[in-house]
Subunit: 136 residues, 3 copies
């Protein structure tokens, strides 16, 4: 059994982390899959999808840390194309662009603190995440 849906984002800020656990759970429920896996994958190359803690302080730490590892404002080669978002490509690479969440007994089989996040690094435009459920 395969079931596909898409989540749309258009964030207010250039950088924004959005919790999407409930959206993914809703799609899994609609799929009717009882045992399987769901792929949650950013379809744009300056955004990521990751699993971690739902705690504002930690989200702030992630953002400060990413800015240190992959600074904005450097003279990246990519910017010679007219773009100015090379750092967004690098930041999303650190965070990862997709996760697979196991489905057991009809529910997301997540640990106690696991939450799914969409990480936008070049927002204020329409972007999509694919949610693809596969199982029995």
């Amino acid at each position: 059994m395969v079931f596909t849906d898409y989540l749309w984002f258009n964030t207010k800020h250039q950088q924004e982390f959005v919790r999407i656990t409930d959206d993914v759970a809703r799609i899994v429920a609609a799929s009717g899959v009882i045992e399987g896996k769901v792929l949650v994958s950013a379809m744009h190359i300056t955004a990521g999808v990751y699993v971690n803690d739902w705690e504002d302080g930690l989200i702030h730490d992630f953002q400060v840390w990413l800015e240190k590892l992959a600074p904005s404002g450097l003279s990246y080669e990519h910017h010679q194309t007219g773009e100015d978002n090379a750092d967004a490509h690098l930041k999303r690479t650190i965070m990862g662009h997709q996760v697979i969440v196991p489905i057991t007994a009809g529910k997301l089989d997540l640990g106690p603190w696991e939450q799914i996040f969409y990480a936008e690094f070049d927002g204020q435009r329409k972007k999509r995440v694919i949610v693809k459920v596969l199982g029995a």
Copy 2:
């Protein structure tokens, strides 16, 4: 066909890398799946699962490198909640928290040097990894 099992860890040290290739292979054999994939995913957000070399020097290099990229002992915002492990969240993000291993002809279809590891960054407590086999 879907088959689910869990591996439990309670490491002696705060940080510890544990080879789990044989544990995953044992679960795949028990599943009866001949062609498919197995998801191996940390269920706690300060641990990772990755594939790389089984060589103690390299494991040491990984640990030194992670400490450089995501230092412990900084005054992270997350620590205002009473936690002291923000760096563990960052380190596991670099290493990745899950892998998918292909199963071909009933066996893990791994390259010559590929080994599956559990990377603990905040141990000395009970933690779980889900191993979910999907295939035919």
Copy 3:
């Protein structure tokens, strides 16, 4: 339905990024899978597989950035085994070693700028990527 194929690489240079979107699409077409997922995973531990932009400037930026985060030429412990490629293990860890690409209506369900790349960090030798299709 499960279908497996392998891509072989033997790059001219030690470090080389190779676009493989069309190779993966060809294998998916051969598989006959209409709805499902394809795993694309490096079978060697000094190479990665990632999804990002097909733009030479950005590829250059990735390479400069990886050299900064995971420098070659340091005295890594791993080198006491006679190897000299510890940095290649670290670089591939940043980029990731595998991706899952969704298949919808018989095609790779990729966003407008998503391209699949093989990232070689220790080339000039024969290496393999597994491409495993699962679906209906």
